[in-house]
Symmetry: C2
Subunit: 162 residues, 2 copies
């Protein structure tokens, strides 16, 4: 698996699985009917942010991550990141590889911490992954997320210093 | 004291004290050299957000608040808000009046909670005010804010359900 900067040519491959993940409405706070132009603008970042893809040996895109400052000004040393893994490529360590990548990127860029603003508590696979990468659940906003089948569930704020 | 919707004509009165508060760099995560056009765009919100001013009996602007969704999609029921009180008008209950206003607004708009993303822990007056209005410190991001004289201090995330 290789992680490289995302290019314009990757977007048509990212969009179908990103759209499916967003439309499912179980893990992200994006509008479920997110349109492609808005999605592209939100996902394909330029400096100081960055967007990457994880590809296999044949060049197939398996997943993507974006990373960016999470705050401005006197808190601009806290980074943020978001991840989308093609559901057809689950269980292959793509999320972990992308997570390790964004932590290395943030350290190299001089960030002092990384914060995830909204991790849905029922997304237990993601929570366990981020904990294994050193993130802590700092708090859980009660009833912060309206899950399509489980109703109101908590929204974790996760954080780790670098 | 009256709280009313902010108009374009209020901006020239808001900008000097907003600029001074931001330039001091002690309480907000905005860039300290925030330019006027960016400040105006960030502060003077339109629907679904709203910006108000608190004025005294003679119509003088004492402070201002903006309120808005804090998340999108399945977490869009969490509101956010920010406050600026003219330092020359401190101690007159302006912050409290604006806080009570935004809570009433959020309830009326159907929000289920309000979240403050970044309350500097050394801003003890604000922390005490929000606690008195029912907010709780959910967590403190360690070293989340670089204070100009105190160095790295914590950044509270405060929350209350409505």
């Amino acid at each position: 698996m290789l992680i490289r900067e995302a290019t314009a040519g990757d977007w048509p491959v990212i969009w179908p699985f990103l759209r499916a993940i967003v439309a499912a409405g179980e893990t992200y706070t994006y509008p479920r009917d997110l349109d492609e132009a808005t999605a592209r603008e939100m996902w394909m970042l330029t400096a100081p942010g960055r967007t990457v893809v994880a590809v296999d040996e044949s060049g197939t895109v398996l997943g993507t991550a974006k990373m960016n400052p999470n705050h401005m000004g006197a808190a601009a040393h806290i980074a943020g990141a978001s991840f989308m893994v093609d559901p057809q490529c689950g269980g292959r360590g793509v999320g972990r590889a992308l997570g390790e990548y964004v932590l290395a990127w943030a350290r190299a860029e001089g960030y002092r911490a990384m914060q995830f603003n909204a991790v849905v508590e029922t997304n237990t696979g993601a929570v366990a992954l981020w904990e294994s990468l050193g993130f802590r659940i700092m708090t859980t906003l009660p009833e912060g997320f309206l899950h399509p089948t489980k109703g109101y569930v908590g929204l974790h704020i996760m954080y780790r210093q670098l």
